[in-house]
């Protein structure tokens, strides 16, 4: 009886509360979402406008000028930039997946002495921002031996500067992903590996054919984050590429935006749409992986 009187008023406020409170909540969230999306809408709308139209502020284009996109491709090699970005993203992701799953598995499942210390080593490195090491990293990449005209001591040439190697390898395999991979392997039970061992499967076979297929969702999470990071990278390509043929999309956009003559906004927005849409589509499809990955790092990590 007492419990009924206690729950009574609360249930009462709940049924009257949802009315106004809920509506206010939805209104507030919708305004927030609108603030997030409007700049992208504005980008797409501008991409369809003519140079004449953008001289004055307006929302909608007079007509959908699809030819802006083809004309933008002719003004700047956005398509080649796009292919370069794709190549870098795929290469870096493959490299990261290979290196980080191996290390993560070893840290999680194999009886290495000092694996705890090694884990803290990777966790500490995870905190080192790239910007702090950009000068020495440039010098190291410049002196990779036997590449780019360098001798065996790494002198005389440009090493990995202005090369696909330089664009892909140094920023791949971030400690964050080794740590993430380790977290995922830890949660896989040992019994399967033991059974495979009894059946005579070697350690590498157990890693590649038994344990890794079990963490496939985790691999997708790592891949999604790595693709995003590689696709969006800017400072490093800016530092090490000198030839236009190797520039990724973000760098191409920045150069186009800094055109000393008048910036052609519709073309720039068409190029920007090309740069943003793949990642937005990837997020919509892999939303669950993004959320899970972040929860893993932020909450359990």
């Amino acid at each position: 009886m007492t419990s009924a009187t206690v729950t009574g008023p609360i249930a009462g406020t709940k049924s009257s509360g949802p009315g106004i409170g809920r509506i206010l909540l939805y209104v507030a969230l919708s305004i927030g979402a609108l603030l997030m999306i409007t700049p992208f809408l504005w980008m797409v709308l501008t991409a369809f406008k003519s140079n004449l139209e953008i001289a004055k502020f307006s929302w909608l284009p007079d007509e959908l000028r699809w030819r802006n996109f083809t004309e933008a491709m002719q003004t700047a090699p956005f398509l080649r930039y796009f292919r370069n970005s794709l190549f870098i993203a795929v290469g870096e992701t493959a490299f990261t997946l290979a290196v980080c799953t191996m290390a993560g598995y070893a840290l999680a499942k194999l009886p290495i002495r000092g694996s705890k210390a090694l884990l803290s080593y990777f966790i500490i490195l995870l905190l080192v921002p790239f910007q702090i090491i950009l000068v020495p990293l440039f010098l190291i990449v410049k002196s990779i031996p036997l590449f780019g005209g360098n001798n065996i001591l790494g002198q005389g040439g440009i090493g990995w500067l202005n090369s696909w190697w330089g664009l892909i390898i140094p920023l791949g395999a971030a400690p964050l992903f080794t740590f993430l991979a380790r977290q995922f392997y830890v949660s896989v039970p040992n019994e399967l590996a033991q059974a495979a061992r009894v059946d005579g499967l070697g350690e590498f076979g157990i890693f590649a054919r038994i344990m890794t297929p079990l963490v496939k969702p985790a691999l997708i999470t790592i891949a999604v984050f790595q693709i995003e990071a590689a696709w969006n990278a800017f400072l490093w390509p800016l530092m090490i590429t000198t030839s236009d043929s190797m520039r990724p999309l973000q760098l191409g956009l920045a150069i186009f935006a800094q055109n000393p003559a008048e910036v052609q906004w519709p073309y720039l927005m068409a190029g920007t749409a090309l740069a943003t849409l793949p990642m937005i589509v990837m997020f919509i499809f892999a939303q669950k992986r993004f959320v899970e990955g972040m929860a893993h790092v932020g909450i359990k990590g």
């Binding site: 206690v6 729950t7 609360i10 909540l25 939805y26 507030a28 969230l29 997030m36 999306i37 700049p39 992208f40 504005w42 501008t46 953008i54 004055k56 502020f57 598995y105 070893a106 840290l107 194999l110 009886p111 290495i112 990777f122 490195l125 905190l127 080192v128 921002p129 910007q131 702090i132 090491i133 950009l134 000068v135 020495p136 990293l137 010098l139 190291i140 390898i169 033991q194 350690e203 890693f207 696709w231 969006n232 400072l235 530092m239 999309l249 920045a254 935006a257 906004w265 720039l268 927005m269 920007t272 740069a275 943003t276 990837m282 993004f290 959320v291 972040m294 929860a295 932020g298 909450i299």
Partner: protein, 314 residues
């Protein structure tokens, strides 16, 4: 007997343990060997591209190296010169200002939005996508979009102001509004990650606890202060640290939108480091700047840690 049937591997393990067989030791040894071989690429990669560069940065900061063949140790000369350098001072102050504004504002906004999204609302997927889209997008692309939004002639920002009858602003070319305009974009872009992390953390806060507290007559604010807030503890620290490190790294946004201008109003540390190293080719000088940035970040993380400890002790 039934135990051995259920756990054959355990049975084999114990059977092997009875005579300390060569087989099991061999098995362990092969596992250790495999472990080191699997770890080797990651260790090598991190040593070459992370550990050595950090040490190298510190060493370089005590030299006058500038790509040439001849260089010399100069002690603390780079550091003492830095503190008299106008660009560095502007970059230092602006970066601090940027962090001091962006970190708390973006954390508060994203926590509020996450609390809203945690109310069992409909369309969670849509809202989550909307708030995360700016985060998943390249900062350069964001910068070009906002460059156009802030365009004084026909940009969206001034179009919006004129709706309410306000005079148009110069935004990025006005010294008073340039840095705040950049901060707004930084805050706007960074909400997504924090919202998702907070939301995941909020969903793991015990519903029973909250319900029993509301049965005991605790109001919304009391429930938040006494249950939700403490439960967010470790996540708070993570969000704080990553946000601080992120704001100190701000570069793409500034490089594309203002290139440090007007004057040095929006000069930030990484842009100054980049300019010193790759335009003026003063690598030693730029390295000293990165060392100072490293120390700054460490101090901020330490402060965050203290704050968190104080919060827990309360």
């Amino acid at each position: 007997m039934s135990a051995t049937l259920e756990r054959p591997t355990a049975a084999i393990a114990t059977a092997r343990r009875v005579p300390p067989s060569k087989d099991s030791r061999k098995l362990i040894r092969s596992q250790v060997r495999a472990g080191w071989m699997l770890l080797a690429p990651a260790l090598l990669h991190s040593a070459i591209f992370l550990v050595i560069p950090v040490a190298f940065a510190v060493a370089l900061s005590f030299t006058d190296y500038s790509f040439g063949d001849s260089w010399a140790w100069v002690g603390f000369e780079n550091y003492s010169e830095l503190f008299g350098d106008a660009n560095f001072r502007a970059a230092f102050v602006n970066t601090l200002l940027y962090a001091v504004v962006v970190v708390p504002v973006s954390i508060v906004i994203s926590l509020v939005i996450a609390l809203g999204l945690n109310q069992k609302i409909r369309g969670l997927g849509f809202f989550r996508t909307a708030f995360y889209v700016p985060t998943v997008t390249a900062t350069v692309a964001i910068a070009t979009i906002w460059l156009w939004i802030y365009n004084p002639g026909s940009g969206l920002a001034n179009g919006f102001l004129s709706l309410f009858g306000f005079a148009p602003s110069q935004w990025l070319s006005n010294p008073d509004t340039a840095l705040p305009s950049l901060m707004a974009v930084g805050i706007w872009q960074g909400l997504g990650t924090k919202i998702i992390i907070y939301l995941a953390a909020l969903q793991s806060v015990s519903r029973d606890l909250i319900e029993s507290a509301s049965l005991d007559g605790a109001n919304r604010w009391q429930r938040f202060l006494n249950i939700t807030w403490p439960a967010l503890g470790p996540v708070q620290f993570f969000v704080l640290v990553t946000t601080i490190v992120g704001t100190f790294q701000v570069f793409d946004l500034v490089y594309v939108m203002t290139d440090g201008g007007p004057g040095t109003e929006t000069m930030v540390l990484v842009l100054d480091i980049y300019t010193n190293a790759f335009q003026d080719l003063r690598l030693g000088f730029a390295s000293a700047e990165t060392v100072i940035m490293m120390i700054l970040i460490a101090i901020f993380i330490g402060l965050g840690r203290l704050l968190q400890k104080a919060d827990v002790n309360d």
